[in-house]
Amino acid sequence: MPRPHLYLLVALLAAFGISWFSDRIDPYHLDVIIGIGINIILAVSLNLVNGYTGQFSLGHAGFMSVGAYLAAAVSLFLGPRLLGEEGGTALQQGLLFLGALTAGGLGAALAGLLVGVPSLRLKGDYLALVTLGFGEIIRVIFQNVEFLGGALGLNGIPAYTSIFWVLAFVALSVFTVTCLVNSTYGRGFLATKDDEIASEAVGLNTTRYKIVAFVIGAFFAGAAGGLYGHFKMTITPTGFDFTKSIEIVVMVILGGMGNTVGVILAAILLTLLPEVLRPIAEYRMIIYSLLLIVLMIVRPQGLFNFKLGRAKS
């Protein structure tokens, strides 16, 4: 059964291959593609929590900010010491970046654990609010930590993010979520979503499933945050507010909860939409919000969910 691993290997090689040609891609298109990739990681990881496990989290941007800050801190404060004044070779930089992203992801995962253990006892709207509250608290804390730039944020983060890293992490997140959900263990996530009481009755520890989903989701959100920080080269606490969380939730819902392919398509569509509507920039957010309302009324199961007979209330 080594097939999924083969896919991952192929995807990583493809990412490496594409990065060879990145010089020939128009820089604007490259930026858009990187933006799409980061959003895919965020949406796919949130889909594990909101889609497959059926828990409604509104704090994804909070975990993203933890990862972004931690990764940026690693490359800003630790980088010069490890690499020396010249900045080191490309390989050294790559290893440092991998370390920074991993640190960001692990930090976010830890934050996910700390948030998840107490709050996952709650359900529905209340869980949404508590996660929203934690996201806002994380933001206010970052605004007050002088060491991390306070309200001004961190500037001058090295631009390590390249199309290779983004594609590699997209592949890794999709691989992890897909394999996890399709494994014997992972059926527990779906069971938790479908009927929590019945799952507990047959002996599943639903709380543990929720926490595992939350921690893994937070890990990838943190890694995406690290990629984002090293892509924009500057991060501010307000960039990770609750509007950002909602943006990610919307991708998951439009894609059809618990449908990885749909969520990827929705992430692509929703990242491209503001770009396409740029000529009418003034009205683009109005159109975006109107689309959201109309879609919820007309296609509540999500834009890309074609499974029949699953219109569950």
Binding site: G133, I137, I197, V249, Y283, S313
Partner: protein, 296 residues
């Protein structure tokens, strides 16, 4: 001591505004069981109605102030009913999550439309009510604070009378208790829900005017933070519970004012959420809410 009283007073006038907004959240939650994210933007629209009407009424008079207040309440009530009719009614009976997302969509729509039509730059709210300061020893009470507390108290008494003394109020409570049973005994649920939105939005409109009087810089995103905090107030008091929303608002306003006056003032936006998390973890039903047992 007088500083303590002063802080209490400031806290109560801020809390009164939170309470007004919280009432709208709690009433809508009572009948429809969902968080109306757009409520905070109705509050913003209320302030802008006040801004435009306020330029055409005599300044610094009680009469002019009341005209502005009623105009904002009426405008917001109509807006709230319109939102319910167009966005929420088609989703009656749909999954909670979809309604929640629609509410977020309506909220974004109002915010971005506001930025296009009102402009994104902050405006200065006209002084519609006369403003003076009354001094009692070291204690200073501004007339704005008096207006806030008096108007809020009157509106809450009025609301209490509507909910407990009128036919439509009885119908509201019936729908909140059990929508199907209410329908069976002849309550028109759609009318009741529409009325609830109108009532809640009118209170948000009044809250918008009162807030803008005390913090006279208004912009299309002004509703986000007060809205979130008012929701916290509603949960704190017990969501769906009208006296609870009032109590939660006053408590939250007071706590926030005290934090703002202390050395942790930069954390004042976090304090509301910390309270929310603590209350949800230890007493999810809120201070005045009834603890319900989940049946399988």
């Amino acid at each position: 001591m007088s500083e303590f009283l002063q802080q209490i007073l400031n806290g109560l006038s801020l809390g009164a505004i939170y309470a007004l907004i919280a009432l709208g959240y709690t009433m809508v939650y009572g009948v429809l069981r969902f968080i109306n994210f757009a409520h905070s933007d109705v509050f913003m629209v209320g302030a802008f109605i006040g801004y435009y009407i306020g330029q055409h009424v005599p300044q610094d008079t009680i009469g002019g102030g009341l005209v502005v207040l009623f105009a904002a309440m009426l405008g917001c009530a109509l807006l709230g009913m319109l939102i319910e009719r167009l966005a929420y009614r088609p989703l009656r009976g749909a999954a909670t999550l979809n309604v929640l997302i629609t509410a977020i969509g309506v909220s974004l729509l109002l915010e971005y439309s506001g930025q296009v039509f009102f402009g994104a730059t902050p405006r200065t709210f006209p002084s519609v009510f006369p403003s003076t300061n009354f001094a009692f020893g070291n204690l200073v009470i501004s007339s704005n604070q008096v207006v806030v507390i008096v108007v809020t108290a009157l509106l809450m008494v009025g609301l209490q009378l509507i909910v407990y003394r009128t036919k439509i109020g009885t119908a509201m409570r019936a729908v909140s208790l059990n929508p199907k049973a209410a329908q069976l005994v002849g309550v028109n649920n759609d009318v009741v829900i529409s009325f609830t939105f109108g009532l809640g939005s009118a209170l948000a409109g009044a809250g918008g005017i009162l807030y803008a009087m005390n913090y006279p810089s208004i912009d299309p995103l002004m509703g986000v933070m007060p809205g979130l905090k008012a929701f916290v107030a509603a949960v704190l008091g017990g969501i769906g519970n009208i006296p609870g929303a009032a109590l939660g608002g006053l408590l939250l306003g007071t706590v926030e004012t005290f934090v703002n006056g202390s050395q942790w003032s930069t954390y004042k936006d976090a304090i509301a959420f910390a309270i929310l998390i603590i209350i949800l973890l230890f007493r999810p039903a809120g201070l005045l809410g009834k603890v319900s047992i989940e049946k399988v």
